[in-house]
């Protein structure tokens, strides 16, 4: 733990902030011991996450060898720019998450919370891009178009042109649901199964990570201020989790979007 010199202040009502009054669980000898234990536990948990995704990566490598054409063809439907944008979004969020921890350690509560919010917004942006620009068009053929340039045109539209329909684009679904009419390889549905399983499992992790961060944000609100120089276990753990989610994407992105 860092040993930064710090003068405790009082928050509204003369109550000491949560990180000042925090008492570690009684079966630990010291607060540091508790922190170390949590950290060890979290690292072990991250190892299990990596192993979980290892199954997806093995699946990927074997089926890429077994059905090279289906995979080459399938991956050519993915637009690396959306994947790339999402990569950037996640990298920024990892940075703000790390900054948030740093701010808490130095008791800059406002900055810390601001960084948490940016992290959350990035997480939401990631999921939104995934859904609107990738999952929904590929599955249904409905494209998202914030410029509404198709309104009044020939294409079918919804929500005043916010979505427009492209014939013969959708149906890229996993397994038995696959109905894309222009598939050139009989095993193309396997590529989509892998794509949705891998990215879907990852997206679920993004959502869990966001929930953890939101929890930290809630307990750091003025009047509670649970995290500060002397106690920031919760933030640190949420941060570690968030970084592994980022890291897994860093591997998924090139495998799915860049290798053709």
């Amino acid at each position: 733990m860092s040993t930064i010199d710090f003068k405790p202040g009082l928050i509204q009502g003369g109550r000491a902030p949560g990180y000042e009054t925090y008492k570690h669980a009684s079966h630990f000898r010291t607060k540091d011991e508790e922190f170390d234990a949590c950290k060890t536990g979290m690292w072990l948990f991250l190892a299990t996450e990596v192993l979980l995704f290892a199954g997806i990566f093995v699946w990927y490598s074997i089926y890429r060898m077994m059905y090279p054409d289906a995979f080459r063809n399938g991956s050519s439907y993915l637009d690396w720019r959306w994947g790339g944008l999402n990569t950037v979004v996640l990298l920024i969020s990892s940075y703000t998450m790390a900054m948030s921890i740093n701010h808490f350690q130095h008791n800059r509560q406002k900055e810390a919370r601001r960084n948490l919010v940016i992290t959350l917004v990035c997480g939401a942006l990631f999921v939104a891009i995934k859904l609107l620009m990738e999952y929904i068009p590929k599955m249904t053929g409905w494209h998202f178009d914030p410029t509404m340039s198709h309104a009044g045109g020939e294409a079918l539209t919804k929500f005043g042109g916010l979505f427009y329909f492209e014939q013969g684009y959708g149906g890229k679904l996993p397994g038995i649901l696959f109905s894309y009419p222009f598939a050139t390889d009989p095993h193309e549905n396997m590529w989509w199964s892998l794509y949705y399983t891998g990215t879907g499992l990852h997206a679920a992790h993004v959502l869990i990570g966001m929930a953890l961060i939101a929890r930290v944000w809630w307990f750091s609100r003025p009047g509670v201020e649970n995290y500060g120089p002397k106690h920031y276990t919760g933030v640190e753990m949420a941060g570690l989790y968030w970084h592994i989610v980022d890291l897994i994407w860093i591997f998924l992105f090139p495998l799915l979007y860049l290798i053709h």
């Binding site: 008492k23 570690h24 669980a25 009684s26 079966h27 630990f28 000898r29 010291t30 011991e33 170390d36 234990a37 060890t40 536990g41 072990l44 948990f45 190892a47 299990t48 996450e49 192993l51 979980l52 995704f53 290892a54 199954g55 997806i56 093995v58 699946w59 074997i62 077994m66 059905y67 996993p174 397994g175 038995i176 649901l177 095993h187 549905n189 396997m190 199964s193 399983t197 499992l201």
Partner: protein, 594 residues
Amino acid sequence: MSTLHPTSGSIPGHADDHHDHHDHHGPYYQSKGSFWTNVWDWCTTVDHKKIGVMYLIAVLIFFFIGGVLALAVRTELLEPVRTVAGQVTGQFFKSDEGIGKGNEIYNRLFTLHGAVMVFMVIIPSVPAALGNFLLPLMLGAKDVAFPRLNLLSWYIYFFGSMFAGLSIYFGGVDTGWTFYTPYSTTTDPDQSRVILMVLGAFIMGFSSILTGLNFIVTVHKLRAPGMGWFDMPLFIWAIYATSIIQVLATPVIGITLLLLILERVFHIGIFDPGLGGDPVLFQHFFWFYSHPVVYVMILPGMGIISEIIPVHAHKKIFGYRAIAFASLGITAVSFLVWGHHMFSSSTELAATIFSALTFLVAIPTAVKVFNWILTLYKGSIAMNTPMLYALIFLFLFSIGGLTGLPLGALSTDLHLTDSYFVVAHFHYVMMGGTIIAFVGGLHHWWPKMTGRMYNEFWGMTGAILVFIGFNVTFFTQFIMGVQGMPRRYATYVDTFQIWHVVSTIGSYILLVGFLVHLFNFIASLRGRVAPANPWGALSLEWYAASPPIEHNFEHEPIVKHGPYDYGEVVPFHCSEEDYPLADKPAGASAHTVH
């Protein structure tokens, strides 16, 4: 050095401990008020001892269910099924729909037997039940590192087993406990029971992961002051090694089962060849988890034996470090040998490599066995139920391990694979090893857990019955297996009948043996009150009261001697008259326990 001092209350975090109002000094299970107050207290407890007891009760119930299924399987096998003049004879699971239906019922029963015994009994038996109770006590800690996570693990286990129970309620599965594809992707396509069973195993996996994680951190962070790594009891080493496997192997089965569920729901081709998938990939994934997991099953059992033998032989364990490192060695090698379950479905080169690696496992295993035997040599052996079980373990586990060798050798395995020889092999290791050690450990720590002594005569009687019943049941299966009796069939040719009959009789003897234990345990709850250290043992759990108080120890212990320094120090709560010190003049080193 032979003293054990309580701390003077100056340990940080100790002083502010006495804030709530109930009595901290009674037994951990003492009543907290009305019946429902107590129910609520147990359901929400974060006390590792209560959680351990809850696991124990669940495991024993599932052991009973799994046992009934096994007896049903054995009863079907009393007679080969024949069709004589259009009449089916010898089928226990009769059905109007003919032999096929009876066979299907049989398939479901042995599948459920295997799945219940593996996922719901053996895996949680020693680590989750005894481990939870003992690990913090043996380390001199107040609890595991994450008590609430511990309770969560218990609930995950509970809900996972509910899913499995639902699956059984809807008719159960017939895929074999290994869920091999394409059985598991194609049978009962219109039913949810395969999914429910797989989901149950998937959920229980998380319980296993979180328990393992919790234990690893506990061992790292919560050892009592003065307890270095090599001052830990060997049971802790075993649990530690087990936990590593649980944490590193279980996620792989997690993703495998998840993919299996997706494959069934969306018909995505991963493991099912009919959909373009690869069934051998499933086998690789499955055994990458399940071979290491056979060591999740046996390592804790070995840990129990490493405690029972020195305590009841009252002798320092021979080769402490060798046994500790053997646990870690087994852990490491266990991740490299999964292919030996797939000799008949892999390439020659792969099979040869896996075969060679498999023999490596035998080395650390044998190191342990020899060390236990050398510990017994010239010990002052107290022949009681735990010791008897330790000896039974040595005998049965040696047979189980040695018969692993012909299975690990390619040429012999091709003859023996999928035969009763394999069935006998893994029962000798899993039941003759783990379950035997578990029951022995239950007797050994029963006084600590309940505060009562069991009856020694009936304990020994039960042990002898179990020993006889076990060998009658399973040794016959080696013979049948070598002669070619395949596993997983309800029907067989008449020549095998004699062996099947003997084996079935053995299984009934086993039942009687376990019932004797059950009644003995129940009776003991009204029996003699146990002293704090009935066996004169040196590890820290015996320093606590029997049963321990809620926070385990009145004062945090500081460790000043090893857990096996027999003859060098007088055990806690004991007098030197009963436990004379070997190489020192009497009275030279009597120690005080406060």
